[in-house]
Amino acid sequence: MNDKHILDLLEHAPLANLSQVDRERIEVHSKECETCQRAFEAAKLSAMMLKEHSLDTFAAPPFFETRVLATLRERAAGKDVWAFGRMWRAAGALVSSMAATVALLAVLSLALPVAQTSTSSTVISANSYSAEDMMLNSVDVSDDQSSDAQVLRTLYETEEEAAK
């Protein structure tokens, strides 16, 4: 029997479940092989320790269920607080979006008329033949007319001089 086989036997099942034949084979081999002897000893100690460990258990303390129920109520209350917090955050988001919308509308309503006025004046200044321009600058128009007359007069005078 080789060492590997012994180790496999030790690990294949709990030591207590080994058949008598397997146990004897291990014991016989362990007497000749120091490595397997150490492994077998360690396996026996492990098995004993595990048995003792399984017997050493803790019992529930008195009023354990009361404590569980109290924790359950605490957590439920905590959840309520969280739910309120979530609601508050959601409401906060809604309020901020509303405030942002109001601010945007205010900016638009204040800034837009100014922009429109400035735009129209720009258009008026660009177009000197608009109705407003004609009305507002009526003096200039008469000036233009007189200068046209002067031009015509000058032209006629020039022609007359040429005819002479």
Binding site: L7, L10, E11, H12, P14, L15, A16, R38, A39, E41, A42, A43, K44, L45, S46, A47, M48, M49, L50, K51, E52, H53, S54, L55, D56, T57, F58, A59, A60, P61, F64, E65, T66, R67, V68, L69, T71, L72, R75
Partner: protein, 202 residues
Amino acid sequence: MELAQLAHNGDESAFAEIVRRYSPRVFRFASRFFRQRSLVEEAAQEVFLKAFTELGSFKGTGSMEGWLTKITTNTCLNMLRSAKRRPELSAADLTEDENTWLDNKLAGAASERHESNERSLVAADLAGKVLDKLSPEDRLVLTMMDGEDASVRDVSAATGWSESKVKVQAFRARRRMREAVEKLLAKRGQRRHETLESAGTK
């Protein structure tokens, strides 16, 4: 099933009855994983709190005990996974009582069955120290199968693992535990040798 239904519908006394009825089992199961009472209590409490929130998923096809065992296993495994493990047990970690227990066993007193209760506790503590160095999964299969003679099917039902996975896990866990004990014995021998040598030089 009726209790579960009542508790699910918000009947506190029904849930208190579930806790009263199944807490011995949950405590016994959680004791496999932790050596400190405070941790066992924490785990057990967490199990029942989880059970309460998941009562709706309990269909009543299996037993309430089996359902709670599964929750206990998962809760304890998760708690152990999140805890830090020291890689190895050293000879200095052993108490005098634990050293004496090992000496007695190695001297061939293994067959003597009339041990005092105190000695058993020493062995249980020592087992806990060795198990603390193994993975939570190794610890589970070893305590169930080698400690409490649970079958492969029992472990499979408690963990949700396949039976072949349980077998492989148990095989490897036994090897790792045996190797840990072998190493501990070797370190003990070495430590004693060094102590004797230093005493000789003085």
